[in-house]
Symmetry: C2
Subunit: 147 residues, 2 copies
Amino acid sequence: MSTTPTKPLRIGEVAEMLGTTPRTIRYYEEIGLLPDAQEREQGKHRCYTDTDVERVREIMRLRDLLGLTLEEVSALLEAEDARAQLRREIRETEDPAEIRRILEQALGHIANQLELVRHRRRELEQLESELVAKRRSIHKRLGELDA
Amino acid sequence: MSTTPTKPLRIGEVAEMLGTTPRTIRYYEEIGLLPDAQEREQGKHRCYTDTDVERVREIMRLRDLLGLTLEEVSALLEAEDARAQLRREIRETEDPAEIRRILEQALGHIANQLELVRHRRRELEQLESELVAKRRSIHKRLGELDA
DNA sequence: CTGCTACCTTACGTTTACGTAAACTTCTGA
DNA sequence: TCAGAAGTTTACGTAAACGTAAGGTAGCAG
């Protein structure tokens, strides 16, 4: 997945890629949504991998599409965190029971997200069909106007 | 306003029906999203018809599902406003050309809303399928763990 | 080395969408 | 009629999610 050693990105580049601002990314780091990348020394420039970029994109998507607060996003993203942790632990041939526990936990978090997403989608579909009905009604009246 | 003479509701009832607060409804009125119902005299209680309730519900839905600001909602709801205006004008057997103009305008606003809704829905579906993929991947790894 | 640009930290400012409090009034059931 | 619940106006408060400005630094091109 992240096995491709891509050139590290600076905060401005990441921001532009995602249609946001450096301030927003720093803010996410500030509130703990993003890890202080690469144990940076004070004053040094932040640099990001494309895995980091994906995480920011995911944050913004959950925020926008589900209308979650950043705190709620933080809770939901525990699944990603668990998977990341898993990748680290797997390298050390960890106890299979522990691996199973982590996987099952991630599964639970993903189920939560899916529930939210599907609920939202149903609501949107409802709204969409109401709009279509309205449009049809108007078209009908326009037709009657011609008669 | 509506043809069914339902018992007028007070602000607290409306709020509870919609899972919100009186303050929110007053706020919507304050910023012009809701008309100051029924040319109320200073200090008298507000009262609402079920048409009014529907409007508030619609506002909240657009706000939540599409993530719009109240100002943006206001712009989108011009379609409803046009339809309401239409109903008034139709009673006075207005010029058919004018009616057609209003209808076509409402049609445009509804098309706007539909575009927004559909775009959102597609994004949600994308997110949903990614989640399903992740889940499948985890299940697969759990299966391998058993082997 | 020099200069320029993007970045860093700190800290206060801003907008949206209400929450909350106070002092008073309108309604409604007994 | 009258008490108490619910409503009204006015006005200040607030939380989330950044924006913005100031004063200094890192990093790279030449």
